[in-house]
């Protein structure tokens, strides 16, 4: 049911459009610049009424967004999931509304960039409007680009806390409807809500909903009624300082008055009949957050995530890779042959460029699907918040909250889903730092090169060398984090942990599928094109002959020529050879292809067992001997260090660009290259002195 019909009077439209930038345009901007690309679509300034959804973290706001729009915005049972602005269309009857899903916020007093965005979109817009003459009271109509109505989502199970934001929003001149979620949870705890009484207390319609199960009750009809008929003026707001003023005692006094009002409203609208939260959620927490058992559980969960994202996906990836490079490529070549175009540049472009590029994108699909599904399970179940508690102190050393541990762990499997997994972080700057650190985690693709090189040069100590690379990877993450915090990201917050823990719940398969599909399709849309284009470019470079001896087609291709031209750059690190440089160039596209590249440039076969490199090993030994002036061991170690630290693969770059934009991605590329080169040179030069 819903309560309190909206006022019949329709307030006058503003005399003039306010000077403030239209909300829709501001909301659309992040998607336009390529960040956070899974937004469900821009809010078009096409005259549709704009409805904003706001609410505290964990109240089911994003679930409600999905339920009303079908846009499948990211959903998660964890503080700060809605770290982006999602948009979508809400069709109800013959009407269509534009819906904006604002980042979760406890209040309009922001402590993070995401909360600030919510505050700005709500408060500045309405204040500009008020100053333009609209005044307090209803504002209706189809003012494109402005918020026409705000749906504040609160939890019946935690009404007192989640009403704070609602009460603050009510102090601003926008029509408001209150959507109350988690009625079932409240009932189990013995809390009974009288929506009519709550509506009377607050002066706005109150509509119970259950968005996790797709039930939105009378929300649509109430929203339309308020949009059409307007809303009567509300009581005068709680006096307080300007939102722009520094937070101080006046804010706290205003907050106290709001808490008093909330207590009265909750007292009038709810009653308890026994029941308590203490139950299986608390019992699980006794283990999951235990000082000793908690980290053990966490490591076990991370181990499962790591194994599933790498080992389970591997055979499927291998199958897809074999399918594309085998039957699909053969079929395409047959078609070109039948058309009389066999062996030409067009066939090469299509088969070795486009088909190979699409094949590489496809091989990421199982990996990303598993990763996103597991992430959704951890989020929706509520465990991710506990993992954040367990790892908080460790991660705080580099200025990150505990929840940043997850993407970094995943990075040891594959950097691409790890970059996407940074979305679990609510703070934009923490996300930025984590995205920049992820490429330093040594992904499984780099492992193939470690094994080959270490087996070739270090014999029975190969395992120690590979283990050392993983230790170095962790050291690089920590040191780079400290470096960035003291330079580019000095303003990164270091506040102590204060984290709301949602109760555990069983993830709903429908939501998991929706979240996984949203994230996967967004990845394919934004990263797929870049990966395919890069593969095509590398193919083209290796095809174009730049004169010289035709008996060495790879060396005399544009690829070989560029590699040879760039190789002196690595001479101070002891591996200034075009084969090694070319392999690193290929590694920019995919680290998995480094070994194959060596096999191709040395005109030998790729070893079936990387621990027995055979002829390829002999060629590598000869070249490293030559390029290092006899200091082979330090040169090989320098090469491995550079391989670990330099620019990640193009798929990771595409994912990075999607999350942090082009500028910061370029900063990351430069930073990694400089760090990797400096370390490699240091390793070789110091090693040369020792050996």
């Amino acid at each position: 049911m819903r309560s309190r019909p909206p006022g019949a009077e329709r307030a006058a439209e503003p005399a003039a459009e306010p000077a403030a930038e239209p909300v829709a345009e501001r909301v659309a901007r992040p998607a336009a610049r390529g960040c956070h690309g899974d937004a469900a679509g821009d809010v078009p300034g096409d005259g549709r009424p704009v409805v904003a959804l706001v609410g505290s973290p964990n109240v089911g706001k994003s679930s409600l967004f999905n339920a009303v729009t079908g846009a499948r915005r990211t959903v998660g049972n964890w503080a700060g999931t809605s770290v982006e602005v999602g948009t979508g269309s809400w069709r109800t009857g013959d009407r269509e509304l534009a819906v904006v899903d604002l980042p979760g916020a406890y209040s309009l007093d922001p402590l993070s960039p995401d909360e600030r965005l919510t505050r700005d979109l709500l408060v500045r817009d309405t204040e500009a409007e008020a100053s333009a003459g609209a005044g307090t009271g209803a504002r209706t109509g189809t003012g494109a680009g402005h918020l026409d109505l705000v749906v504040v989502v609160v939890s019946a199970a935690d009404l007192a806390r989640t009403l704070y934001l609602a009460v603050q929003v009510l102090e601003h001149p926008l029509p408001v409807v209150l959507a109350v979620t988690m009625g079932d949870v409240a009932t189990r705890r013995g809390i009974h809500l009288d929506a009519e009484a709550l509506s009377e207390e607050l002066g706005v319609p109150v509509v119970p909903v259950d968005p996790r199960r797709g039930r939105t009750g009378e929300l649509a009809s109430v929203v339309l009624q308020v949009l059409d008929a307007g809303q009567p003026p509300r009581p005068a707001p709680v006096p307080g300082p300007s939102p722009e003023a520094p937070c101080g005692d006046a804010d706290l006094a205003a907050a106290d008055r709001r808490f008093t009002r909330i207590a009265a409203a909750v007292g009038a609208a709810t009653h308890r009949s026994g029941g308590s939260r203490t139950g299986w959620s608390d019992r699980v927490d006794q283990v999951a957050t235990h000082p000793v058992a908690g980290p053990v559980v966490f490591l076990a969960v991370m181990w499962v995530v790591f194994q599933l994202t790498t080992r389970v996906a591997a055979p499927v990836q291998g199958f897809l890779d074999g399918l594309v490079s085998g039957p699909v490529s053969s079929g395409a070549r047959w078609v070109f042959g039948a058309l009389g175009l066999g062996g030409g540049a067009v066939e090469g472009l299509v088969v070795d460029g486009l088909v190979a590029g699409v094949g590489m994108v496809l091989t990421f699909v199982p990996l990303m699907t598993i990763m996103f599904s597991l992430l959704a399970v951890l989020e929706d179940s509520g465990y991710l918040a506990r993992a954040a508690v367990v790892t908080d102190r460790l991660m705080r050393a580099v200025g990150l909250p505990g929840k940043a541990f997850l993407p970094l762990i995943v990075g040891f499997g594959c950097n691409v889903p790890a970059v996407s997994a940074t979305r679990v972080l609510p703070d934009a700057r923490q996300r930025l730092l984590t995205v920049l650190l992820v490429p330093f985690t040594s992904c499984s693709a780099r492992l193939t090169v470690y094994v080959l090189v270490a087996s070739t040069f270090f014999g029975r100590h190969a395992g120690d060398v590979v283990f050392g690379m993983y230790v170095l990877s962790i050291v690089m993450v920590i040191l780079t984090g400290l470096l960035l915090r003291s330079t580019l990201l000095r303003r990164l917050g270091t506040e102590d942990l204060v984290l709301d823990l949602p109760r555990y719940q069983l993830p709903l398969p429908r939501l998991l599928v929706a979240v996984t599909w949203t994230r996967l399709s967004a990845f394919l849309r934004t990263a797929g094109g870049i990966i395919v284009a890069s593969v095509v470019v590398i193919w083209a470079l290796s095809t174009v002959q730049v004169g010289g001896d035709r008996s060495e087609p790879v060396r005399n291709s544009a690829y070989g020529t560029i590699a040879a031209a760039a190789s002196p750059l690595f001479a101070p690190a002891g591996f200034g050879d075009w084969h090694a440089t070319g392999a690193l160039m290929v590694g920019f596209v995919a680290k998995e292809a480094v070994v194959a590249s060596w096999a191709q440039t040395y005109a030998t076969s790729e070893p079936a067992d990387l621990r027995r490199p055979g002829g390829l090993g002999d060629s590598l030994r000869a070249d490293f001997e030559r390029s290092s002036g006899g200091h082979v061991v330090p040169a090989v170690l320098a090469f491995l260090v550079f391989l670990l630290g330099y620019t990640p693969c193009v798929a990771t770059l595409a994912a990075q660009r999607r999350e942090i934009g082009t500028r910061w991605t370029l900063v990351g590329i430069g930073l990694q290259f400089v760090l990797a080169w400096t370390l490699a040179v240091a390793v070789f030069q110091i090693g040369r002195l020792i050996t």
Partner: protein, 74 residues
């Protein structure tokens, strides 16, 4: 006594936190405001505590715990 030194499973009344105003405000928004009754439920890995405020659970780090005075409910 502060939340850091308070015993577990004992109802406590909170005092005014010795924190910057924005942090105090955030604590208040989460239900941790002067006069509120809370219970420290358990220690966590890393030296923090999980605090119960009614049905809600909030994980709090060591730095904040030591800044929030608390007295047992008589």
């Amino acid at each position: 006594m502060t939340l850091a030194s308070a015993p577990c499973n004992v109802p406590l009344i909170l005092g005014r936190a010795a924190l910057p105003a924005p942090r105090r405000l955030r604590l208040a928004e989460l239900g941790l405001r002067p006069g509120a009754t809370v219970t420290v439920l358990r220690r966590t890995a890393g030296g923090g505590r999980i605090v119960g405020i009614g049905d809600a659970r909030v994980a709090i780090g060591q730095g904040v715990l030591t800044a929030v005075p608390a007295t047992p409910v008589q």
